[in-house]
Symmetry: C2
Subunit: 508 residues, 2 copies
């Protein structure tokens, strides 16, 4: 009798969770359209739409009946294994319900509206290199995020930033992230210095030749298809800031941006977003809307995108297979360039301003800077108005160069305008997880380089489907990596990968 | 005291109506995306999304609190003039509330899901010329529409089809439409016969030369801009079936389809949709979400699109201005074609299979056929399974030619798959209204031909803004036309226009 009651209530819960996720996915369509299609004058109406949806979605996610249902199921359940899918669905529903009920409806609606308009203000401000046009929005957003952190709360020995980080990387703590970043920073800066002192100077100018946009698009789609992104269940469009948005089963949208005179931007950007997309497409549609059918965290998401972009896409074997195609797509630009020179160029390491176009070595320094500034903004030690100055100061200290303007400095990323504070560290966590997961895949699958050189990318994709994607959010990210690889979070496999890749390239 | 209460309750009503419309507009974004962007495998998820939104929207539109609020305002109001904006807002809120509350929630959700999937089935069925793939959907849709008609109800001397027609053309009656169509049919067929007997045979092949798609797009956008569509507040995309979707203030989407070897399709299709778009963009954003800020009816909507497409876009003066541009865009196709031959070709009259590409004379015969079949489907006298046969039979009787396959016959239009039964007659009503309104504009503005020949289209656009658009849904459509032109609905101005245009062209 008890178990019958359980089943019927569990089905109710699943239906309710699916409805909440389905409803949220409607907002994703509007969010994607805002960045991919919306005409300039549509901004205010879109902000109103998204605010309404956010408010209604929050109402659903915080309905007292939902809380009651979760409570009843918790009382009825008797799982031997807390990682049984049903047990995970219930415990994650509890976690999300508790998080959502801590946020007042007014804050959610205000946040949605401010970030929709803030994102539009950011687009203009960045275009016009005018921080002052974005500053009032950043102020509002930081204030709202502080309110959010306060409402969510954090452990006694923690800090407000924990509450924000937790939204993207459930269970992660600022202090732990800080510790692993600190351990990583020294050897990373050392590697960068060795590279800068090397006499090897790749010819990066070959990447700035003319790469016709239409050809870039075709080539990027060909490569994304080869690694396993299904274009029958997705598309690739243009947006100011590249992103991936999984609407739900069968529909995942990638965006990128093209620059005729910068090949790597759109190409590796597309591989990156396709990596996210392959994860989304690899989630189990049967469990859609529940924790088992959702991605584990942004860090794990990023491990997938960065793996395809860098560990695969910038590897020599990848180009042993793809370089002749590249030469066919871009005969003028690449006809006289050897595979070796091309591979050296796409792996050129040098301090530069734009995070999304940074090489694998300096990339993590970009993240560390943002992580530091975000903590200062949330703790109140840094005012929005001072961000450009402090950014430039700290950037110069880290990279030895100073951004010429805010569009190449603190205005380059969409995140803050979108209210995504606490998100950046997941990029470096993803880099670390990527190396750990990739090493394990290679242990199990054999020589991946040999496969890539023959254009065989699907064995790795299928391994990821089976070993990462199918778990959904069954485990917290650090536990998932431990289950799959037997190792806890560490910067060392990433550091080893960087040394293995750049040592030979730069004769270190 | 009473009036203070009234004001506060009225503001509440307006806020609620705006919320309902805003919520509905989120579904419009998803609907547009489904046709303009969605990848093939996204269909089921999209249907789930739209069904959820339709259900929630219906809940909002039928909330008992809304009914109570309307009731209280009706009791409190004391307008001398029932056409005061506030009075109209309240009475239209009542009309819509009553209509919505008659529809059970389950029917609304079922309809949304079936029509979303039905529309996708239609795309495939049409592509494969396979009616059997669509037949089960048409059966379901007709059944649901009959249920809808029954739930909505109709006057004692009316018929079920009235209830469906009323959704698109509030207040219109099947018998009235039938009467005006019947009066029109005779002289229309007579005109067609005269044209077919004429020795003038325009060279239509010039329209089937090569018109590069990219150039077609640029030219269509240039023309749509010239007549007043604001592309800062809208866009033009590709869809299987052309349509216009106004999401709300500042965002209106047009779609069209291109055929390199058929110039008129995309060009006049875009002018047509831009006509709808100009109406949407002309609605008063202050009154968004209330009857004063919404379009009057589909018939009035169509009067705007058909006016720009035909009365303006196929007129000689329009091409006196635009033909040199056309020759610049398409030098190969039009370099050796005179303005006169081109103008004759775009006004070629001949029985053909596809409604949206039909000339102005035969167009209305296409509508009359659909109007007849829809009534038979809803009354139960015609089964979905028999539609292809009956379509071909009646088509042949009217046009003297038989569709070679269903894609050029009963599967050509998106409407039925979308559940839009009762919609077609509004096209011919729109044609009639267009001529009536255009004649009045010319009376007030002076010689429009002279203006068009100089590229001056904005005076007409502004006159429409002031005389049609700004009224929103203050009047029922036939009353609106009477207020603006002093005349009741009549086919005679349209017939006079057709005789004026085609008489000289065909030496009648």
């Amino acid at each position: 009798m008890n178990s019958e009651t359980f089943c019927s209530k569990y089905d109710q819960l699943v239906a309710e969770l699916k409805k909440i996720t389905l409803f949220g996915s409607c907002g994703s369509v509007l969010g994607w359209d805002e960045q991919a299609n919306m005409p300039p004058k549509g901004g205010e109406h879109r902000a109103n739409q998204l605010s309404l949806l956010a408010g209604l979605g929050h109402q659903m996610a915080t309905a007292p009946e939902l809380g009651d249902l979760i409570g009843e199921l918790e009382a009825l359940q008797s799982f031997d294994d807390p990682k049984t899918p049903e047990a995970v669905v219930i415990s994650e529903a509890r976690r999300e319900y508790d998080r959502a009920t801590k946020l007042p409806q007014t804050l959610v609606e205000e946040m949605s509206k401010v970030t929709s308009l803030g994102q539009q203000a950011w687009v203009e401000a960045r275009k016009n290199k005018d921080f002052s046009a974005f500053q009032p929005w950043l102020e509002k957003i930081v204030t709202l995020k502080r309110e959010e952190a306060k409402a969510i709360g954090y452990e006694d020995d923690g800090q407000p930033y924990d509450a924000l980080l937790d939204a993207y990387e459930p269970g992660a703590k600022t202090a732990e992230v800080d510790a692993v970043f600190t351990a990583f920073r020294g050897p990373l800066v050392e590697l960068l210095q060795e590279i800068q002192n090397s006499s090897v100077k790749p010819d990066l100018s070959i990447l700035e030749r003319s790469y016709p946009v239409e050809q870039q698009k075709k080539f990027a789609i060909e490569a994304a298809t080869a690694i396993g992104f299904d274009f029958e269940a997705g598309r690739l469009d243009i947006a100011a800031h590249p992103f991936c948005s999984g609407f739900g089963p069968g529909d995942c949208r990638l965006t990128t941006r093209y620059d005729e005179h910068h090949f790597p931007g759109a190409f590796f950007g597309t591989l990156h977003e396709a990596g996210h997309g392959i994860y989304e497409q690899g989630l189990d549609p049967e469990w859609y809307g529940t924790a088992i059918g959702e991605s584990a965290s942004l860090g794990i998401h990023e491990s997938q995108s960065r793996m395809w972009e860098n560990l695969v896409g910038r590897s020599k074997p990848f180009w042993q297979f793809f370089y002749s195609r590249a030469q066919e797509f871009f005969p003028t630009a690449l006809g006289d360039v050897s595979l070796e020179d091309f591979h050296q160029a796409i792996n050129g390491v040098q301090p530069s301003f734009i995070r999304v176009e940074a090489d694998e070595v300096t990339y993590n320094l970009h993240i560390m800077l943002r992580f530091e500034l975000e903590q200062l903004l949330i703790s109140g030690e840094l005012d929005a108005a001072d961000v450009p100055e402090v950014w430039d100061e700290k950037f110069t200290a880290s990279f030895g160069i100073t951004p010429p303007d805010v569009s190449q400095g603190c205005l380059q990323d969409v995140h803050w305008g979108h209210g995504l504070i606490g998100y950046f560290p997941t990029y470096s966590l993803g880099n670390m997880y990527a190396s750990q997961i990739f090493n394990q895949a290679e242990k199990e699958l054999g020589d991946l380089s040999e496969m890539f050189a023959k254009g065989e990318f699907l064995p790795l994709k299928k391994w990821l489907n089976e070993n990462i994607h199918k778990h959904g959010r069954r485990y917290k990210s650090n536990r998932l990596v431990e289950v799959v690889t037997g190792e806890t979070l560490s910067h060392e496999p990433l550091l080893a990968h960087l040394r293995n890749r750049f040592g030979p390239l730069y004769n270190l």
